[in-house]
Every structure is written in structure tokens, then in C-alpha cells.
Amino acid sequence: MLKLLKNSLLALVVIASPVWAGSLTLSNIAEIEVTEVNDQGEEIVKRVPADLVVPGTEVIYTITANNEGDMEAANVVIANPVPEHTVYIGGSASSSAMGKSTRIVFSVDGGSTFDVPENLEIMDEDGTVRLASAEEYTHVQWAFDFAIPPGAKVDVSFRVLLK
């Protein structure tokens, strides 16, 4: 009887946790840009799934935060490590909610600390202190100064170059 109670409690916990966590879901897609020529002979840049990538290809990651719960999601911070074998392309991080004050910051120390590009410095072996270059960023972070209401979506995006 005690064992049965324990099991049902466990089951309750398992069922309960997705309800909390499920209020904000993150989906992530990888795309590349291809140039196509339309009927009028004009070149059109089109985004397609990132299937044909080789060294030197620019890959665009778009992360969509979708509030599927019935409560607002507050203090939302999205972080994305720059994937292995790629380098971040300077100036490429953006947010669909930029007008609503999104703070985009970067890390050069594996995600321990984040700051804006003009404050990210690196000391070389000879003691020279210099501004970190975009290729040296390890993480990108978007911090929203607003709450995402139930049913709303926010896209954030960044680009990397495949080494």
C-alpha cells in the first residue's frame, strides 16, 4: 500500500512538471541563403534548410520562443553557445522584438560572463589588451526587458561561418 502510494506520488510529479516547464517552448532551425533567379530574371535571395553546407558556408540559426502557457513568461533570457566548428559573424545577432528593448550580449569565456562587444577584451600572451573579435565569441545571449504574454512568440537569430 505504501509502495503504491509512493508510485502514484511519483506519477503525479512526472505529470505535474511538464505543465510548469511547458509554458515557454524554444524551437530552433538552421538555414542557409541561396540565390535564385525568378521569371523576370531577377536574383532573389531565399532561405532554405541548412542541408548543403561546406567550409565557408554562412549558417543562420533562428530560435523561436513561444509562450504556450496561460501565464506570461518574465525575465526571459535566451543563450546559445556558438556551435563547434563555426565562428560567430559580427553584428548578426538580432531579435524580432528589438523595439521592445532586447539586450544582446556576448561571452568570450565559455558563457561565464556576458557583455556588449565594446566591453569584451582579451589579453594576449605578450600582455597586450585588445578588443575581442567576433570570431572569438563563445556564446550569444538575448535578454528581454519585457514579459512574453501567453500565446505570443519572439524570434531571435544569429549567423555563423562554418570553418
Binding site: 524551437s27 533570457v77 560572463t113 570570431e135
Partner: protein, 342 residues
């Protein structure tokens, strides 16, 4: 507040950046590598509600095979040849600048436009792969005739030689071109185009790089009619004031070195063994490289390494004079030395 980080923490990223900045010759990410990306969100459920973390789905992008090749003619200058030469060598490198393992077909062509003559590709073979036996980086008999590079890993380089015969009856300074082409065995296509399932392992695509899967470079031969003529003369002085070649008589030898035609006689070394039954007169070598007439001799030492001449050093019991590179335009050189008859 400024964040300051030491290179120690970021060394790997700095190194990676340096590699990338080398452009086409950088070792790109290997074909077949999976690029995985996952984002993460932290937030509060409701203002002041409990904090939580949620990851995104991971995206996995597999790196395809980039097919790219570079062919470069690497002789320092046009190869100097004379009419009628056979098996003259031009030297090239073939580099796999893609990111997968790739074999390349090799073809040679000498009937090119824009030159003065067509060299004749040597028969039956004219494309050779430099191999580790024999002299590395230089054509020798141990090198193997090939029609492909063999499978090259990314950034692998091989040295290839093309051999041609030179037609007869050509003029000084005429040039003749010959060309090496390397073509990916996987195929060729416009830069950026691709072949499904043709990449390494057969599950990824082959994508053509800037070369389009093939590359060629042209090497050049130049006819150099440089001719070196040696004229040797002897003056005998006997101990009795005459000119009889008797024991004890001195023979003064003079070698006149004439370089004519066009071009340069490279690394011209004159060696003259002391004749049998004679003895070299120590420190008797004199050299005139300036007057063109033997009017401005400069005394030489017998030791090696201090001037252009030596005795019994570079060659046993011989006079050796290293004149270096002598152009056809240079004045004649005069070398003189003495021996006594035993």
C-alpha cells in the same frame, strides 16, 4: 565594467581564427562532421513566479564534402632547354584544398596557344609522381608514371612532373608551354553546385568549390642557346732559355672560357687535371674575369673556399675554378696556371 580575459582561456578560439584567415588553404571542417546547435531559455513563469529553464530542440547539420583542388607550376623560372633536348622536366604541385578524401585524374597538354613552339609530350609516359625514394622534389628515375594523384586527404600536396621533348631548329629565347590539369574523380561542376550522395561515404553531397573540381597551371620552357667553349693553350719555357719540353721545363697553361649564344651558363665550373709526368707549381693559378683579354690577372690561392679557385681541393691533383653563373654577354674569362715537367 570591462571584462578582461586571458589568452589562456581563449587560446583555442584564437588558433581557430588564425587557421580560417589563411583562406583557401585552411584545413576546413572535415566532411561528415555534425554541427549541433541548441539554445536555452531561462525565465519566470508569471511575474515573480518560479524560475525555470528550457532547452530548444537541437539542430544537426552535417558538413558536406567540398571538392576543391589547386594546381601550381613551381619551377622558379622558365626551364632553360636547347633544341632537340629529350625528357625535359616541368614541376607542379597538386593540393587537395577540399575537406574530404579525394582522388584526382591528371592530364597533360602541350599544344597550347600563345607560345613560340609546342613541346612534345614524352612517350610513352609524361606525367610522373614524385615519390619518397630517390631525390624528393626533383624528377629522377625512381619516380612513377601516373594518371591520378591517388587519394589525397584534405590539404595533402603531391609533386607532379611533366616531361617533354623539345623540337629541333628553334631560336634563342623561344618559349613553349605545357600544362597539367587535375580533375576530381568525383566529377566537376559550377562552383556551389552539388552532386547528391557523391561525397565521402556516399551519404553526404559533393559540393564544388571555387575550382569547380578541376584546376590547371601552365609551365614554360625557354630555348637558351648558351654555348660554353674552352680553348686551352700552353707555353713551354725550358731551363736553358728555350721552349723545349724537357725535364725541368715549365709549362704555362691558359684556358680561355667563352660563353656565347643567349642565356646563362649556370654554376659553370672548370676543372683541369694536372697532366701525368708533370707537377703543379704551387700558388700559380691566376684568373682574369674582367678584361676579356688576359690583361688583368688576379692571383688565386691553392686553398678551397677563399676565392674562386683551388688546387687539389675540390678535385684531386687538379685545378678547379668555380665561375658561378656566366651570361652570354660576359667577357671571356682567362685562367692560367703552371706545371713543371718531371
Amino acid at each position: 565594467m570591462k571584462h578582461l580575459y586571458k589568452t589562456l582561456q581563449t587560446g583555442a578560439f584564437v588558433a581557430a581564427t588564425a587557421l580560417w584567415s589563411q583562406g583557401a588553404f585552411a584545413l576546413g571542417t572535415a566532411a561528415g562532421t555534425d554541427i549541433v546547435n541548441t539554445a536555452q531559455a531561462t525565465y519566470n513563469i508569471g511575474t515573480g513566479g518560479p524560475g525555470t529553464t528550457t532547452p530548444s530542440n537541437p539542430t544537426t547539420t552535417t558538413v558536406n564534402e567540398l571538392i576543391d583542388v589547386d594546381v601550381t607550376w613551381i619551377d622558379a623560372a622558365p626551364v632553360t632547354v636547347t633544341s632537340g633536348d629529350v625528357n625535359r622536366v616541368t614541376k607542379y604541385t597538386v593540393t587537395n584544398i577540399g575537406n574530404g578524401n579525394e582522388n584526382f585524374d591528371l592530364t597533360s597538354l602541350s599544344t597550347l596557344l600563345g607560345d613560340d613552339f609546342d613541346p612534345v609530350l614524352s612517350s610513352p609516359n609524361n606525367i610522373y609522381l614524385d615519390n619518397p625514394s630517390g631525390i624528393v622534389g626533383q624528377y629522377d628515375v625512381t619516380d612513377t608514371p601516373v594518371s591520378q594523384t591517388g587519394v589525397l586527404a584534405p590539404d595533402d600536396v603531391v609533386t607532379i612532373f611533366i616531361l617533354n621533348d623539345i623540337p629541333t631548329g628553334l631560336n634563342d629565347a623561344d618559349t613553349g608551354d605545357t600544362q597539367l590539369t587535375a580533375t576530381s574523380v568525383t566529377g566537376t561542376g559550377a562552383p556551389g553546385s552539388s552532386l547528391p550522395n557523391a561525397g565521402d561515404g556516399g551519404t553526404i553531397s559533393a559540393v564544388f568549390g571555387n575550382s569547380g573540381g578541376d584546376d590547371a597551371d601552365t609551365g614554360t620552357y625557354i630555348i637558351s642557346g648558351v654555348v660554353v667553349t674552352l680553348t686551352k693553350s700552353a707555353v713551354v719555357t725550358d731551363p736553358f732559355g728555350g721552349s723545349e719540353p724537357v725535364p725541368g721545363a715549365t709549362i704555362a697553361y691558359t684556358i680561355r672560357v667563352s660563353v656565347t649564344g643567349s642565356g646563362t651558363a649556370a654554376n659553370l665550373v672548370i676543372a683541369d687535371p694536372i697532366p701525368a709526368n708533370t707537377s703543379y707549381v704551387l700558388n700559380s693559378i691566376r684568373l682574369d674575369t674582367t678584361s676579356g683579354s688576359g690583361a688583368a690577372y688576379v692571383s688565386q690561392t691553392d686553398g678551397g673556399g677563399d676565392d674562386a679557385s683551388d688546387y687539389n681541393n675540390t678535385n684531386g691533383n687538379a685545378v678547379t675554378v668555380d665561375l658561378g653563373n656566366v651570361t652570354a654577354a660576359a667577357v671571356d674569362t682567362f685562367i692560367t696556371f703552371n706545371v713543371t715537367i718531371n
